[in-house]
Symmetry: C2
Subunit: 152 residues, 2 copies
């Protein structure tokens, strides 16, 4: 598979590689074989700047981009990427799981009536005085979700 039609080669907003060769390298480093589907999905995910996307939406994009991939594989791939640290699952109260292509330290706006997630750089929120975690536990991560509603 040569890096043909779809590969625009433009660097993603966060500087991630997004041509086929570099994506392949990233996948390999994460212990994932750079298969057609994984490369295509990675390309869709990482070549358009930071995004928050759910499985169905990504599957739809793939279909539109003429990348034949099953929904089950999209789910598998998203979870594999998440475990590998290429993506980050974001918890909002929607029943769907959203995956964030931005894995750097940051927080989120959640626009309630649109069910939409927007990044907030970590530098724009300060969380201090964190409580001690209970015995035998350590802090894995601190997520801040700023819930927004339409101004009345």
């Amino acid at each position: 598979m040569t890096s043909a039609e779809g590969d625009t080669q433009k660097p993603a907003a966060d500087g991630f590689a997004c041509d086929t060769a570099q994506l392949g390298e990233r996948l390999r480093k994460a212990g994932l074989r750079p298969t057609r589907q994984r490369l295509s999905l990675a390309h869709l995910l990482f070549s358009k700047g930071n995004r928050h996307i759910c499985a169905e939406a990504l599957h739809e994009e793939a279909v539109l981009a003429r990348v034949p991939v099953s929904l089950a594989t999209v789910y598998n791939t998203l979870h594999q990427f998440n475990e590998a640290g290429l993506l980050r699952a974001v918890a909002v109260e929607s029943s769907k799981t959203y995956f964030d292509t931005n894995t750097s330290d940051h927080h989120h706006f959640f626009i309630e009536h649109e069910n939409r997630v927007v990044d907030v750089p970590a530098s724009h929120i300060n969380v201090t005085d964190l409580p001690e975690p209970p015995e035998g536990m350590e802090i894995a991560r601190v997520d801040v979700i700023v819930r927004l509603r339409e101004k009345s």
Copy 2:
């Protein structure tokens, strides 16, 4: 229906009423008819201090407490209570929705390997330098979730 056997009358940890009469009053003020099921569920929810509970678990409790109520009604009731401000839905990444009986300003620990939520008083976490919300939006709430893992 007299307030008989099940009503222990002890005040909840957060000072919420938990005898039938007071619960009825609370429900009425929220625009909800104090039906048998709603009263029973309210009692289960509010008479044991702060809790984080999902629909199935509450349904199970109800069954054990010999309160015959259907799962569908439990879901309805939880959502009605949530809208009425009697409960607060908590978003963690589990697929289940948890409802927190503590509606005061506070945050959460999330214990990843147990899928369990624990309250953290708002006074123990300081969030400052919040970013400006986008045009026409206002901040409804700020949720902080401190994700915990077992210390290695």
